[in-house]
Structure formats: structure tokens, C-alpha cells
């Protein structure tokens, strides 16, 4: 029930956004994430964006995992 999926914002009108989810177009409310901009990915839960996906943090996570793996290899 706490499912939320990443969706890309393609257009915004007021507090409503049009989003793309792997080629499927839906609309979502931005009342919980008014900072979201066109081009952002948001986590969408029951018709509401609950969080804006932070691309820098996503890259940082990948870097951390790769670092973990590199450390292991060095052992």
C-alpha cells in the first residue's frame, strides 16, 4: 500500500503535473511537492507526488556502492 513509483514530470499546470511513467502518461498532484519542476522525477503514490527524486543523491549512492565493491576487491 506504500507503493510509490518514479515518474518524470513533462508539464505542470497549477498544482497538477502531467507525468511519464515508462511511456505511460498520467497526472499527479504536486500539493505535497510544490518545489517540483518540469524534467524532475517524482515518487508518485496514489496520485500524489510525495518526494522529488534527487539525481545527485542517486549518483552518490551508486558511487558509494562502487566504492564498497572496490574496497572489497582491494582486500
Amino acid at each position: 500500500m506504500c507503493l510509490a513509483i518514479p515518474a518524470k514530470i513533462t508539464a505542470i499546470e497549477g498544482t497538477e503535473a502531467t507525468v511519464d511513467i515508462g511511456g505511460v502518461t498520467r497526472s499527479t498532484s504536486l500539493v505535497l511537492t510544490p518545489e517540483a519542476k518540469v524534467g524532475d522525477y517524482v515518487l508518485m503514490h496514489t496520485g500524489y507526488a510525495i518526494s522529488v527524486v534527487d539525481e545527485d543523491e542517486a549518483k552518490e549512492t551508486m558511487r558509494i556502492i562502487e566504492e564498497m565493491m572496490a574496497l572489497d576487491e582491494a582486500r
Binding site: 500500500m1 507503493l3 513509483i5 518514479p6 515518487l43 496520485g47 510525495i50 518526494s51 539525481e55 543523491e57
Partner: protein
């Protein structure tokens, strides 16, 4: 798809699994709170990839499952009340209450509508001004702000026929109740990703501080969960339990402050009744404005509650038993004919065991490689 495929990558998964195998020395019991995490763990066969030092437990993080029969009965009684349109998410439809379900109430003439969002419930209220539209508010902090937003919108537009029956529950109090009871030993906790998108990671700080339990907030792809397990092993092997976030693309330490503000504006904390656990103070959300509170708008008398005979869902939610301990599992109780809510909900522990098998033999392959392959050295 972006922000999905990367986290199913088998190379990353393999690297994390190897890391976990190298680092894990002590025997540890890790619990995934969230039913959604249980599904990912079983679907991708992650349990079999982990070293025998790590024991995984499934927690109570399934909102439908933890809803007590007394509350289900109230919702079902509302659906049978003349003049009411009962709006609900689909996963509640088949859940058996004491003597009936919403599905049964609908078959017998109750006006039950499945909605995808509270926005749809509001729309129903606008379109049916002479009826009361009651939204069945079940869910954790992920869902609560969407219900709060709908109430605020109804207030703004003066939609007085929109009501909510709030059975919402909050997660930090139940975690405290679970670990505080001492009934199950938990060394590390995989914290719910989308609850944490709203509340942040700070509300878990009491777990390492007071109980020495390590925490890692995780997303729902296999790499997210493996990263959380790796973080927990690193913390606990170093003897430094803390709260880490393995889902930094979606979760900030402070959470979503706007959503939290809306919850605070619309709801006040109150006691909530958890299946298998009992009443926990301040773990529920009561509507502050009585105009929108279905419980105050209607005198609901659902009659005495009854628990399904033989169902051990409550014990499973406390992680003291697993579905394999239930005599009805698979034989009598199936997703088609569920006896208890843990089999109805798609993220209920019994349904997950049913679909993926306890050892996950039918597990999906993480991205083109056999599930077991990633563990091979």
C-alpha cells in the same frame, strides 16, 4: 526505466552480496518492517543470497494487515449505511471483517467504489452532493498526507459531504512497542522507504540510542535492499548502530516538511488498535475537524467482533511466527479464499509466502541472471 533499472542491476547486486558475505561475522537478526520489502526480498530470492549469519524477519508493515477487525467492521458498516458512498483503495475490498467484507457489502447493495486516489473520492463527493462520500482512510504516513490534502481541499471548496474514517497508523510508535516488548530480538531494522520519504530518518533515532538497534532506510528495488543490509552489517560489525539511509534519492533526514505540516493540520495523534499487537497510544491519527469525521457524522454500531478461527496473522505481524506455522496456510487459506488479512493484501506476509514460496524457488531473476547466481563466488 530511470531510477528503476539501475537498482535491479545484477553487477551491483553481486558486489553488494559479496561485500555482505565478507563482512558478516556475527549472527544477526534483521527485520524488514515493510511488507513491500518482504515482496522484493522474496521475488528476487534475496534471502538465499545472504550468508547464514543473517536471519531475516518480516515485520508488521502492511497497513491492511494491521487493521483490527473492530475497525474493519466499522468501515463495512458504513458501506451498508443508506445514503453513503464508501470510497476505498482496491486492496481493502476482500479483507474479511468479523462477519462480512466490503465486497460482500457491495454485493448486498452497499455503494462501494474503488478509487485510485483521494482525488477521485473528492470528485465523487462533488458529483454526488446529496450523498455522503466516506473515504476509508487506511495507511501509514505515506498515505496520510494524501488524505490530509483531500480534507484541506474539501474544506477550501466547502465540500461538506466528504468524510473520512481515519484508521491511519504511524510507524515509530509501533516500532517502539515491538522492540520494547522484548518478544522478538532484532539487531537491525530495514526501515520503510516511502513512510520515510514523509517522516524522514530522524524519528528512528531512538532505536540505536535506546535499544542498540541499527537502522537503514531502504527503497524497494533489490539493490536498495542489499545496500541496506550491507549498511546494517557494517554498522553492527563495527558495534556502531545508527540510522543510515540507503534510499537517498527519495528520502531526506528531515522528510517532507510540507506533507508533515498537512498531517499536523488535519490530524491529531490518538490511540490506534493494531491487529495482533493491541492498542498503542498516539499511534493513530484522529481528524481534528469533526465535520469531516465519518465516525462522528454517523452512529456506527457494527456489533461484536470475531477473529477468524485458526488464523495466526497477529503472531506473524509481531514476527514471532511465520505463515509456515499456520495450519491453514495454502490448505484452507489462499489468495482466492483468504481467511485472514495477511493473505488478502498483496504485501501481506502470507500472500508473499504463498506467491514466492518460503525458499523463493520461483523467485524472479535479478536482471537476466539466475537469482542464485549472484551468490556464487
Amino acid at each position: 526505466m530511470r531510477f528503476i533499472d539501475e537498482y535491479r542491476d545484477s553487477e551491483l547486486a553481486r558486489g553488494l552480496v559479496e561485500h555482505i558475505h565478507r563482512r558478516s561475522k556475527r549472527s544477526l537478526r534483521l527485520m524488514e518492517f515493510c511488507g513491500g520489502h518482504t515482496v522484493t526480498i522474496f521475488r528476487y530470492g534475496l534471502r538465499q543470497l545472504l550468508p547464514p549469519t543473517l536471519q531475516m524477519l518480516s515485520g508488521p508493515g502492511c497497513p491492511v494487515c494491521v487493521t483490527a477487525n473492530a475497525d474493519l467492521d466499522k468501515i463495512i458498516a458504513l458501506a451498508r449505511t443508506p445514503g453513503v458512498i464508501l470510497a476505498t483503495f482496491g486492496d481493502l475490498l476482500k479483507v474479511p471483517g468479523s462477519t462480512s467484507s466490503l465486497q460482500q457489502a457491495r454485493a448486498e447493495g452497499g455503494d462501494v467504489r474503488i478509487v485510485y486516489s483521494t482525488l477521485d473520492a473528492l470528485l465523487l463527493a462533488r458529483e454526488n452532493p446529496d450523498r455522503a462520500v466516506v473515504f476509508a482512510g487506511i495507511g501509514f504516513e505515506t498515505t496520510a498526507p494524501t488524505v490530509a490534502a483531500s480534507v484541506l481541499q474539501a474544506k477550501k471548496e466547502g465540500i461538506d459531504n466528504y468524510k473520512v474514517i481515519s484508521v491511519h497508523k504511524t510507524t515509530p510508535p509501533v516500532l517502539r512497542a515491538l522492540v520494547g516488548s522484548g518478544e522478538v530480538r532484532v539487531d537491525g531494522l530495514i526501515c520503510p522507504g516511502h513512510v520515510s520519504a514523509i517522516i524522514g530518518s530522524r524519528p528512528y533515532a531512538f532505536l540505536p540510542r535506546e535499544y542498540g538497534i541499527g537502522c537503514a532506510v531502504a527503497g524497494f528495488e533489490p539493490v536498495d535492499i542489499l545496500q541496506a543490509v550491507a549498511m546494517l552489517v557494517d554498522q553492527l560489525e563495527a558495534g556502531e548502530p545508527r540510522v543510515d539511509i540507503a534510499y537517498r534519492r527519495g528520502v531526506r533526514p528531515e522528510g517532507n516538511t510540507i506533507a508533515l505540516g498537512m498531517i499536523e493540520e488535519v490530524f491529531a495523534p490518538g490511540p490506534a488498535d493494531w491487529r495482533g499487537i493491541g492498542v498503542i497510544p498516539d499511534s493513530g491519527l484522529r481528524l481534528r475537524d469533526e465535520r469531516f469525521d465519518a465516525e462522528r457524522a454517523f452512529a456506527i454500531e457494527p456489533g461484536p467482533t470475531r477473529e477468524p478461527a485458526g488464523c495466526i496473522c497477529g503472531d506473524i505481524l509481531r514476527a514471532v511466527k511465520t505463515p509456515l506455522d499456520c495450519r491453514l496456510f495454502r490448505r484452507v487459506c489462499t489468495p482466492e479464499y483468504p481467511v485472514g488479512p495477511c493473505m488478502v493484501s498483496s504485501e501481506g506476509t502470507c500472500a508473499t509466502y504463498y506467491h514466492y514460496g518460503q525458499d523463493g524457488p520461483e523467485a524472479e531473476e535479478p536482471c537476466g541472471q539466475p537469482a542464485r547466481g549472484a551468490a556464487d563466488e
